[in-house]
Structures are given as structure tokens and as C-alpha cells.
């Protein structure tokens, strides 16, 4: 297991390096004169004139500053690393809670559908998940806003949750203050991502339930709950772990839209602003962060998978 972990880690490092290099190349080979300023600003100051360094030298400088955690300086946003890191907690909170909700929704609905395959309930849920799966995150967000804020108000009640922002006006006094602001965005993300997970879970469960060992488990007189969850779901969910690794970038891009809808000052919104503001430094920093997040997510998924499924551990050991 340890050598497996080390090997995966090595692959992740190479991948991260690749991601960074692709980011560099995109900017270096992009047309326009932005690039030299942008890549050289990694040194801490925007270079105005002087001889342009060659590709190799610029790349070396850039990787060097990257290793020091320096993402350069943007005229618009200042120190890019600082600018993005200040937003990271909000995006992380949203992504993690959205992911948890997505898994709970998705797996719950998927298992229910598989257990009731072919019934009207199954078909209704299939319709629902297809709609939610193809729905843009902002649309789901607006619907939720209507359901939890505007509808209750029309009925004379107070809104159930705050609509936008990350903390109460004037600032949070404790971590708990952030939670109400997380509810609608996380629900939005959870529903959109959960729909995909539900569709996957339903299919995987149906496949798992058709396996011999599920029939064997039934033949042993185990209760349907045990059969569904211990024997069916457990094996059906193993691939979900790696699916979640793949989902991580989807989760983050989902966060871009959700943060925009709910005016949450996270990395996603910062990148959205950076696009409109032609703030290449921030855009590149954000892309790097998302790329690294994807690599780390896949690494975690790989390790979890190896830990959860004994076959993988053995396969790589053998």
C-alpha cells in the first residue's frame, strides 16, 4: 500500500507540473504582448522594458516563483496568491459542503431508484435527475432562491436563509455565522452534482444487484437492507470514489457559477471577475489552483480507492 501511495504521489507531482507547464504555455504562446509582463511579473514587479528573456529563462523564473508560492502581482488585484488565498476558504467550504450534499442526495436517490427499478417512482426520479443534471447551476440557484426566500415572503413569512454573500453585514463573529450563507449555494451545487451521482448510482446499483454475490447474499437470508447497502451499494460505490476525483474540477467549475449567482466572494467569482477584467494573472493563478485541486482530488480518490477496494491494493502490489 505504501509503495502504491508513493507511486501515486509521484504521478500526481508530475501531473501538477504538467498542469503548471500547460498554464505557462497557454500564456506564452498566446498572441498579444501581455505575456512577457505577465510571466515576468512572477519576479514580484512588472517589468516594463529591457530585453525580452528567452522561453527557457522565462519558464525557469516562472517555475521558481511558483515554487516559492508566488503567483505574481496583478495591477488590478495586487498580490495574486494573497488575493486568491483570501477567497479559498469560501470556495472550499462551498465545494466540500456541496460535495457532501451531492453524495447524500445522489446515493440516496440512486439506491432508492435501483431498489424500485421500473416503478413510477423510479421513472419520476429519473426525469427529475435528468432535468437537474442538465440544468445550469444558476437556474437551480434562482429556483431555490424562489423556494426558500421569495415564496415564504409572499406567504408572509421571513426568508429562511440569506440569499447572497458569505457572512452577515459587518462581518462574522463566529464560524457559525457563515453557515446560513452556505445553505442555498451548497444545496444548488448538491442538486446539480447529485443528479449526476444519482444517475451513476442507479446504474451501478442495478449492475451490482444483478451480480451473483448479491443473489448469494439473498440466498443466505440477509435482509433487503443488508443486501442493498452492504452488498450492493458497497461495491457499486467503489468506482464512485474515483468518479468523485474526476468530479472535483466539475465541482469547482460549478462553484464558479454558484458563487456568481449568490455573490459569494470565492475563487470562482474572482475568476469570473478576472475574465471580465482581463486580469490574466488572477485567471492564471485561479486556473493553476483549479488544476492543482483536480490533481490532488484524483490523488486522494486513487488512495481511497486502493484502501477501500482490496483488489486494487493487491493488483498494484502483485
Amino acid at each position: 500500500m505504501l509503495s502504491y501511495a508513493i507511486r501515486r504521489l509521484a504521478v500526481a507531482v508530475v501531473l501538477a507540473f504538467g498542469v503548471a507547464t500547460v498554464c505557462f504555455a497557454l500564456v506564452w504562446f498566446a498572441p498579444g504582448d501581455e505575456r512577457s509582463d505577465l510571466l515576468l511579473s512572477g519576479r514580484g514587479a512588472v517589468v516594463d522594458t529591457g530585453p525580452e528573456p528567452g522561453l527557457v529563462e522565462a519558464y525557469g523564473d516562472w517555475v521558481g516563483s511558483l515554487l516559492r508560492g508566488d503567483l505574481g502581482t496583478s495591477e488590478r488585484s495586487g498580490n495574486v496568491a494573497r488575493w486568491l488565498l483570501a477567497r479559498l476558504p469560501h470556495t472550499l467550504a462551498l465545494s466540500v459542503s456541496g460535495l457532501v450534499l451531492a453524495v447524500v442526495f445522489g446515493v440516496g436517490v440512486g439506491v432508492l431508484q435501483a431498489a424500485r427499478a421500473g416503478t413510477v417512482l423510479d421513472r419520476l426520479l429519473t426525469l427529475g435527475t435528468v432535468v437537474a443534471y442538465s440544468a445550469p447551476a444558476f437556474w437551480v440557484g434562482i429556483l431555490l432562491g424562489g423556494a426558500f426566500i421569495h415564496k415564504p415572503m409572499e406567504l408572509g413569512m421571513e426568508p429562511l436563509f440569506p440569499l447572497t454573500g458569505v457572512a452577515p453585514p459587518g462581518g462574522a463573529t463566529s464560524l457559525l455565522d457563515y453557515i446560513p450563507y452556505l445553505v442555498l449555494p451548497a444545496l444548488t451545487l448538491g442538486i446539480v452534482l447529485g443528479a449526476g451521482i444519482a444517475r451513476y448510482t442507479r446504474a451501478a446499483m442495478l449492475e451490482a444487484l444483478a451480480q451473483d454475490y448479491v443473489r448469494s447474499a439473498r440466498a443466505r437470508g440477509l435482509s433487503e437492507m443488508r443486501v442493498l447497502f452492504r452488498h450492493g451499494l458497497r461495491t457499486a460505490l467503489l468506482p464512485l470514489i474515483s468518479l468523485l476525483g474526476v468530479y472535483l474540477p466539475v465541482l469547482l467549475t460549478g462553484a464558479v457559477f454558484v458563487e456568481t449567482v449568490f455573490s459569494r466572494t470565492g475563487i470562482g467569482l474572482a475568476m469570473m471577475e478576472a475574465i471580465l477584467g482581463q486580469d490574466l494573472q488572477v485567471l492564471m493563478g485561479g486556473a493553476l489552483m483549479f488544476g492543482f485541486a483536480a490533481v490532488v482530488g484524483n490523488l486522494i480518490a486513487d488512495l481511497l480507492y486502493g484502501w477501500a477496494d482490496p483488489r486494487i491494493g493487491d493488483a498494484v502490489r502483485g
Partner: protein, 577 residues
Amino acid sequence: MAHLRPIRALGTGALIVVAACGGDAPDRPELPPLAVSSDVPFCQSVAQAVNAYHAEQSAAHPRPADPRYGGTVVVAGGGDFRGGLNALTTGDQTDQETELHLLHVTLTRFAADRTPEPYLAESWTLEDDGSGITFRLRDDVMWHDGQPVTAEDVVFTYRRAMDPATGFLNVGWFQFYDADAVEALDDHTVRFAFTPHAEVMDPFSNMAIMPQHLLGDVPPAEMGGHPFGTDCPVGAGPYVFEAYRPGDQWVLRANPAFPEDLGGRPFLDRYVYRVIPSSSTRAGELAAGGVDVALGLEPVDAEAVAARDGVRLAAFDSRSFSFIGWNPRLPGLSDVRVRRALTMALDREALLETLRGEYGTRVETGVPDFHWAYDPDLQGPPHDPEGARAMLDEAGWTDRDGDGVRENQAGDELRFDLVTNSNTERETIARIMADELGDVGVAFDLQVVDNQTLGARLGNPTNRDFGSFILGFAPDFNINERDFFHSSSDATGYGWSALNDPELDRLLDTLPRIRDRDQARPLWAEYQQRIVELQPYTYLFFSQRLNGLNADLAGVEMDLRGELINVPAWYWNPETN
């Protein structure tokens, strides 16, 4: 039955619940002591001094028993104040108003009739020949760190603003000022010297005074990115800076030490400005109670607000007009016939109706109909697509290769970049333009960027490669378009449309020097006529500003002067709360 409102549990929400339950006088909790903090070295000592002075003054001036005092107001606008609240470096409408009316003070301020009234200056004397003015300053206005505001601060502010190295955008105000125009006669007396000119009082209500004791050592060129603006802006106005969360919110605190004569301590303990880029989200948050004031709504959202209980719409004339700017440096657009044809091809009446409905007025120049210099007889180019086609033919632009886009003899297409910021209204204008001007054979490549980038792109004198742009602009009451249209402005920040027209130059040179309005009016009519002939812009409309307000928020005045002019007098209505 009252539910706790989670959104405002920290601020006004709690008191609303109490009041709604019992009908007692509102019991608004005192806020914790001001705690400005920063990890920037410059700001650490500043923050300490501000916190200490605020604590001392809060103790010395406890909140009056008047039930109008206390509470928080949350104001939502579309953009962040990226440059911070340093009046020497910023130019956006809402942050300018925040500087002028909340954080900082000005020498004078506009009364309701738009005449100047005393503010930091308790009196002034304009010299008879119009070549100078002397202000007598109050001695009871303090910086938020406890230092007195003196004549030195005024001198510092105006000198920095006039210094080209600072890059102050409205440097045009000082066109007639002498090189060493401003001097302190004593601690509380300042004299400005200038060549006699029109509307001399105008800058004094528009230039916020900045603290010389904090910024005196900052080189003018470094003013822009200085942390003072974002991490620890110190003013002398009725509100004190508390916190800034980039991209999210600015938090200001009532200044307990603000002089009684100038309104004293503001009613509201806390003023929060939140950044919510989308108009419909601002309106939604207003309806949901998450914000109390939603600034700059689009008409469709404004109508939704107007139809709702518990909120109200404040619609008022603003000084802001929308236009399509043409870059006369480019071939094609250098020809006045082409510019005129572009205006004629566009159905501006229908555009106004589509975009603003009743909340706007057509214009033909930057002189609005509420301005004294406005010429009511002015006629702009008519909507006449046929005429436009003929005019383009005559200018030598015809569709030679049959692809629907006109070319000149050299085969260059009549095709331009069209730059605008991300904003539903402007993007709609762009689409309609592409459609209607496409009909007469003119093509556009649309580029949508954000506010700041648009400003930077247009304002860069060294690289004016754009063909056209859609922009809004809010002129001062003292209209002076020299920065835009005078040939000498060609290489300056606002000189995106410099026309190099001797006739217009003459008017721009003359008008600001005429101190008598009656004498100036005929020339103003001539000026407006000349603008219509030259069509530097295709003028679209003056917009009404549409702000949504919580119906319980009382004392709010919003008009041509601005929307934050009397924030210190806003209060939560004790009757309904």
C-alpha cells in the same frame, strides 16, 4: 408573530423583531468597539490611533436617546471600490459619493438648489475680479485618528490633485488655476488663486480633503496603489472606515465626534456597502431583506421593486447619460459623414423605449435638459436609414464585394471593434447596434469587459486602437467637455474622441471663462449645435437612477446631487420598526 430574521440578526434585524413584538421604543444594541485591523505596516499604527480615538469619542458622545439612532443599513451596488476610498485616485460614481458624503469632507457641499453651502469651510470670500477665493475652515473637524483638519490638509489635497504625477482624473477642474494656486494663510484659512472663470465653486463640493499628516510623504505616483485607500482610509467625515473585504463589502461606522453643526453623529451606527454585481440579485436581496438599499437597478428590476410591499422605488434624474463613442482616429470614423450616418441608422427613440421605458430622456449632447445651458431648440440627426446609406455611399464606402459590409476604394471594410462593459443594458445596445447598423452595411466586433478594464482601455492615451465603445458618463453640474473634445486633450486620459475642430476648440476655450450665465447661453447653444454637427458620440439618453429602498428606511434624500448625499440623516423608522 415575528420570526427572527437571520440576515440581519446582527444589525437591524434584532431590533425589528423586538419592536414588532411589543411596540416599545426600539432597543438597538450598541456595536462592539471599533476594531480596524491590517497586516500592512503603514496601516497598523493608523488603525490603532483610529480605534483609540473612536473608543474615546464614543465614550464622550454616547448615543442620544432619540429612537432614530442606531441600527445598520446595508447598501448594495454593482461594483467594488477597487482603488479604495482615496479621493485622489478614484473616479467611479459610488465610491466617489462614499468619499464625498460619508468618509471624507469637502470644503463646500451642494444645497438642494445646487448652490454651494458651508461644510468644512464655514465661510468664503470670492474676490471681486474673480481671480481668487479665500475659505475660512471650521476648527472642530477632526480626522478619524484624532488629528485636527487644517488648512495644510486642504493645500496638500489640491496640490496633489493638480500634480499630473498623481493621475487625478478630474484635473480639468484646475484648468484656470495658477501653478501655486493654493496656499494656507493660517491654520484655518486657505486661498486659491486662478484666472477668472465660470462656475468657480464647482470643484469645492467635489474634491474630498485628504489627510496631509498621513499621506504627505507618499510620492504622487504611488498614490494609486497605496494601502491607505483599501486597508486604512482615514477621513474626517460622518462615517469612519471599519473594514474592507475585497469583492464583498465595505463597512463604515458612525463617527461620534462629527460636529453638531454639520449634522453631528449619524443616526445609523453602521453603514455596509455590499458588492452584488447583478441588478436582479440586488433587487432579490432587497425583497428578501438581505439588503436595505439596492442601487442602480435596471428598469425591469425596478418595476418588480415598485410592485412589492415593504420596499419602495426611488427614481430620480441623474447626471448620467449613455452614448456610443467613436474613435475619430480610425479611417472611416474620421469622416464626419460616416459618424453622422451611424447615428441616423440607429432608431434611438425605439432604443430608449426598449431599454428604459419611462425611466429615461433622449439627448443630443452632453448638456441635459435640467441644465441652465440647455438649448431647447436643438435638433439632432433624425432616424433615417435611407439617408444613412446615401451618406455612406457619398463618403466612398460601398459594398464592393457583395458580402453586406461596405468597403472603401482600398478594399478596407467598414468594420470596428465595439468595446463595452458587462451590463445587460449596454450589451443590448450593442446587439441592437450590430443589427441596425449591419442593415446599412457597417460591421462590429463586440468585446465585453468589466468597468475597470473598459476605463483603462479607453483612458490609455498611448494605445487607442478601439473603434467604438458604449459608455455612461456623469458630468458635473459645471459642464466642461474640454477633456474629451478639445484638440489639446488628444493625448490625455479622457481624450478618446479628440476632434481637432477649431470651431469647437474656440468654444471650449471661451465658454469656461464667461462668468455670466446670460452672456454664456448663446455660446452654449452654438456649442451644442456644433456637437450635433460633429457627432463625436451617438448620444442615446439620460437615465433616471433607479434605487430600491426598504420602506422602513426614513429620511432618505436622493436627487441629481447623488444618492448618498444625506446618509447621516437616514434612520430606521421607529414607528414601523
